[in-house]
């Protein structure tokens, strides 16, 4: 552990108060961004998608489950995967207790993946999750959002130097880099109004940190995210910590 500056209560207090001003500013900035998201135009979803669910085949409108808003987390779990992506799994770990609160705001939150439903449900059992998880196998849903890629599209990436994080994550999902990066993570939001489904918002990459609740806590912990060097790949599935 590196040496850290030790201070008095008064020194801490003065610096903490200065920081609080900026934290409040950032909170207001977040409120402002949320307001701007609400102003994005809604785009009607013209295509008919179908999803395999635990309750049979459903349309996108049916996934709203009687509510006016739908959030879909695009969970990286392709046909070539033996287990769902480790990072997506850490996101999924926090979903179940949030479902009741989101329902109370008329929001349905589910996950979707391209692997067959049976594979998804078996993995859901292993992880002890209860949220609704649908399969888009055979549908272009993920592809149309940019969260699924063909071998042809991936060729330049796969022929180059594969980043260690991709190799690591692929291995942890029981596939190779080509299989792993055929899937991409994302979050998309929809509104159902007068029988029409509209897409309202899509995000990916660091935009998904909103779903990684541990980052909110680590950003307030003494060592922060601490993801350099040996700690780069610290994340595991919740049942894998302490095993490897």
């Amino acid at each position: 552990m590196t040496e850290h500056r030790i201070g008095t209560q008064e020194e801490w207090q003065a610096e903490r108060e200065a920081l609080l001003k900026e934290e409040k500013e950032l909170t207001r900035r977040n409120d402002e961004l949320a307001r701007k998201r609400g102003e994005l135009p809604w785009v009607p979803v013209e295509k008919e998608y179908s999803f395999e669910t635990a309750d049979g085949t459903k349309s996108l409108a049916e996934l709203f489950d009687g509510r006016s808003q739908l959030l879909i987390y695009h969970f990286m779990f392709g046909e070539a995967y033996e287990a769902g992506c480790t990072v997506c799994s850490s996101i999924a770990d926090t979903l179940d207790p949030q479902v009741a609160h989101l329902k109370a705001r008329d929001v349905t939150l589910i996950c979707s993946s391209r692997a067959p439903l049976a594979k998804l449900l078996a993995y859901r059992d292993r992880m002890g999750w209860g949220f609704n998880w649908v399969s888009t196998a055979g549908s272009d849903f993920h592809r149309d959002l940019g969260f699924a890629h063909t071998a042809e599209e991936l060729k330049p990436f796969l022929e180059g130097e594969i980043p260690p994080v991709v190799k690591e994550m692929a291995e942890r999902s029981g596939t190779d880099p080509a299989g792993y990066v055929s899937e991409g993570p994302g979050l998309s939001a929809y509104a159902l109004s007068n029988g029409t489904v509209y897409r309202t918002y899509v995000t990916t990459a660091r935009g998904l940190e909103l779903a990684m609740a541990y980052y909110g806590l680590l950003d307030r912990a003494p060592m922060g995210r601490n993801e350099k060097g040996e700690e780069t790949f610290w994340l595991r599935r919740h049942d894998e910590y302490g095993t490897a």
Binding site: I6, R16, G38, W42, Y198, Y201, T203, R220, A221, P222
Partner: protein, 244 residues
């Protein structure tokens, strides 16, 4: 439902790209604040605090449970939002705590322990945790000054004469307020590194982050933003009551 602007995919994309730039800027500001939090001086904790836990009495250093960092959520119990004899845990804190179990394996795997503390007898906390289905460590700070010293509980005298909450003087302060404090253990000494209160606690709540990207956002009554909050096992009955 209010009328919303409907647009083409191209219109949406251009608005979304513009928003993405603002989102990235927000993200970088967040990174910068996280960095600045880590630069705060560490303040040695001189007082000896004792907590009642499932494994018997423990010191603050014991609560680290072998890890280098400790986050303590100051959970309001016996006082708070929609609290009565049958429902002794604050509704807002219960909402926050619904986010804990899912992130704990990941925090623990990254050398961070997360516990909650309340000024109530341990068996009352345990009974309430059982009802809510929570597993996270929850200790009793009853009889210790811990919650008072870290700005989340206030003495009768402070309630009469005012005190600082969230680094600001409040004339009429409640017996308890929400907050989280961070500590680091180095060479056997516990240091206080950070505390956050009020809306700072929102950053621990994934549900708000999801709502901030949903079509209708938080959709709260501006006069009573928390009016929609209930304990996760109460929504159905409370909503039925509201309809009657």
């Amino acid at each position: 439902m209010s009328e919303h602007t409907v647009g083409t995919l191209d219109q949406w994309l251009s608005a979304r790209r513009e928003l993405l730039d603002a989102e990235k800027e927000y993200m970088r500001q967040g990174d910068e604040l996280a960095r600045r939090r880590q630069e705060l001086p560490w303040v040695p904790v001189e007082t000896e605090y004792t907590f009642e836990t499932e494994q018997g009495p423990k010191t603050l250093a014991d609560l680290f449970d072998g890890r280098s960092q400790l986050l303590v959520y100051h959970f309001m119990f016996g006082f708070g939002f929609r609290v009565d004899e049958q429902n002794p845990g604050c509704t807002g804190c219960s909402f926050v705590a619904d986010h804990f179990d899912g992130v704990i394996p990941h925090l623990n795997g990254h050398d961070v322990t997360l516990v909650s503390e309340s000024i109530a007898p341990l068996e009352r906390l345990q009974a309430y945790a059982a009802r809510m289905g929570w597993q996270f460590p929850w200790v009793s700070s009853l009889g210790s000054d811990f919650k008072y010293d870290f700005g989340a509980a206030f003495t009768d005298d402070q309630q009469r004469n005012g005190a600082d909450y969230n680094f600001k003087h409040v004339d009429e302060v409640s017996p308890q307020r929400e907050g989280m404090s961070a500590f680091v253990l180095q060479d056997g000494t516990v240091h206080h590194t950070y505390s956050t209160y009020a809306r700072g606690v929102e950053q621990l709540m994934g549900t708000f982050r999801y709502l901030d990207v949903a079509p209708f956002g938080r959709n709260e009554d501006p006069q009573h933003p928390a009016a929609w909050w209930h304990r996760h096992d109460e929504y159905e009955t409370r909503q039925e009551e509201a309809r009657r």
